[in-house]
Amino acid sequence: MGKHFAVDRGNLYVFTTGKDILLNLNSFPRGLGLFGADMAWRVSPWVAVVEDVLQKQLERAQIVLRLHGYEKTSLPREALEAYFLDGNELRVVEKVVEMQTLLPPITVDAGEED
């Protein structure tokens, strides 16, 4: 279904839905310190949360995430926290779908007519 990440009030949420598997946490460079001893973080089979991420860390993390096919979404923190707790992806999927419908449709220029 999807690989997503979101940033809310300094927390980075990385999550998957459907049959997608969360990326290996070692994919992030060690120097970034995201899942190290000095950060508060949480992982479930569907959501990884890092708290109080610095802007610099966030920028580099986004590069890694995009390289692994993760898309940025802006879901409410409450929905993501609830997803972490119970793994019920329905409410997250609904929100993702809502977000996607709110985005302007992508149009493809058909080019000149013959």
Binding site: I21, A40, S44, P45
Partner: protein, 511 residues
């Protein structure tokens, strides 16, 4: 000086004798209850209902507090993801600073069943209680029960079902049950050195004898840090505190709310034993300090509460100076030696009373330990641990006493000093999936499908060990008073025998 020492010796010896009496009576109760010949035992120990399964199985959250557990983290995680229960999650509350984090970052935990969650904190605020509170915050909302294991434990596959079965059975009688405590089987490295042998016997006495008696008498029982199951609603309501003995404080708060803790030796999870004196000393000092500090804070609330029964309050009074009892014994014995040197004694003092108190007090806990390993079927293998345990008690006494006094007098608790787990195992039963541990259950007719393991660690059946241990308990209880008893018999016979003799002689003459 001699007279003062003798009075002091008598007071301290008498005080410790109250503890000794409890240990002897507990031993008698456990030997009687866990006896296949006793029909009451089956009723007492098989309050176990069939555990719920399938769709009716309540959601259980298994909490594992970690702090630098690199030697054992993978072992306990592997055991926990392999539990034979359909509806549960594993939640690691981690404060590690070492390579334990490598284990947690491993992707394998995110593709297994059940759900495995890791919650890492960047500091150790609140120590273990703080970590468990964090686990409580992030556990599955549907969780009805919480099961806690320390990182050095290896829970057997059927443990959740057993917890639920015992909980269902215990619910039936008395106050509402908030927790079920199982047996912390400190066993994995029991043959590592003299120390581990001694601690093995100590735990056996505590969990196979003392707590069994407490359960039988309806006394207060502790939730003891690991191998216990709590009702999630109760835990959500009370929460964990940041005490260095968070388990003891939770116990007191549960009892103050009108709940009780059920204990069963039928649920066992093997664990490591601290393998150096310094590690053990640090662990016990933390227990002594935190325990006494909590006693000080809760003493009057517990004593004045209407929600605790008399038996629970009596047990609390017994618990209160628990970590000072070794000091009582050592000081009492020292005073007695001084009084012997000066040959000054109270008028009612007799050598039998003095020696009797020393011997009876000295042997109380070792006899309880022996009874414990006997009931587990390990007497022949583990009896030598009693000698280590005696030595250990003497080594520990001043440290425990110092820490207990610190807890009693200081305003703030000290810091949590962790006990290093090495991951070292000396026993080879892992491959048997712990079934052989339950052989003693089979012998007392309590096992359910535990296999055909034959008891090998106890004396042959023609040695009446159970009776010998029971007789030893009765003799040691009576020992300090033997001369009084003899004197009483003498007095009675002084009145009775001449009459009888006279009557006999008269009869002969008449005849």
């Amino acid at each position: 000086m001699g007279l003062t020492a003798s009075y002091l010796a008598l007071a301290l010896g008498g005080l410790y004798f109250i503890y000794a009496l409890k240990y002897y009576l507990s031993t008698l109760i456990a030997l009687n209850l866990l006896d296949p010949a006793n029909p009451v035992s089956a009723h007492f120990m098989t309050a176990e209902e069939e555990p719920p399964s399938g769709d009716g199985a309540p959601f259980v959250s298994v909490h594992l507090p970690f702090y630098n557990e690199v030697n054992v983290a993978r072992r306990v995680l592997n055991a926990c993801v392999d539990l034979d229960y359909p509806n549960y999650e594993v939640l690691v509350a981690d404060d590690s600073r070492d390579q334990t984090l490598e284990v947690l970052r491993d992707s394998e935990w995110r593709i297994t069943r059940p759900i495995v969650k890791f919650v890492h904190r960047k500091d150790r605020g609140g120590f273990k209680g703080g970590a468990l509170q964090q686990a409580l915050r992030y556990m599955h909302p549907a969780a009805e029960f919480v099961v806690v294991f320390d990182a050095d434990f290896v829970p057997p596959p059927d443990i959740i079902g057993k917890f639920l079965g015992v909980y269902e059975g215990a619910k039936a009688g008395g106050k509402p049950v908030a927790a079920v405590q199982g047996y912390q089987l400190h066993y994995l490295n029991r043959n590592e050195n003299w120390l581990t042998k001694g601690v093995r016997v100590e735990y056996s006495g505590s969990y196979m004898v003392e707590r069994v008696a407490e359960e039988a008498l309806g006394a207060m029982k502790m939730v003891s840090g690991s191998v216990f199951m709590l009702r999630a609603d109760v835990l959500r309501g009370l929460g964990w505190t940041t005490s260095i003995t968070e388990d003891w404080e939770l116990t007191l708060r549960m009892y103050l709310e009108g709940y009780r803790v059920a204990y069963t030796p039928l649920i066992q999870a093997p664990a490591e034993i601290p393998n150096t004196v310094s590690r053990l000393v640090r662990q016990r000092m933390r227990w002594a300090e935190g325990h006494t500090h909590a006693v000080r804070r809760y003493f009057w609330r517990v004593m004045l509460s209407t929600k605790l029964s008399l038996a629970e309050k009596l047990e609390f009074i017994y618990f209160a100076p628990y970590y000072l009892q070794s000091l009582f014994f050592i000081l009492g014995t020292a005073c007695w030696i001084v009084s012997e040197v000066y040959r000054r004694r109270p008028p009612f003092w007799t050598p039998t009373l003095g020696w009797g108190l020393v011997i009876s007090n000295f042997l109380a806990i070792p006899v309880m330990g022996l009874a414990g390993v006997f009931l587990e079927g390990d007497l022949l293998e583990d009896y030598s641990g009693v000698f280590s345990f005696i030595a250990l008690s003497i080594i520990m006494a001043p440290y425990q006493a110092y820490a207990a006094l610190k807890g009693l007098l200081e305003g703030e608790e000290g810091t949590w000093v962790r006990t290093l787990k090495t991951g070292y195992i000396t026993e080879s039963f892992i491959g048997l999936k712990f079934r052989s541990l339950f052989r003693w259950l089979k012998d007392v007719g309590l096992s359910k499908g535990c296999g055909e393991t034959v008891r090998t660690g106890n004396p042959p059946p023609w040695v009446p060990t159970r009776r010998l241990l029971s007789a030893a308990c009765l003799f040691l209880i009576a020992l300090p008073f033997l001369d009084r008893v003899a004197h009483l018999i003498g007095l009675i016979s002084g009145f009775m025998v001449p009459d009888l003799v006279k009557a006999a002689l008269r009869g002969m003459m008449v005849g």
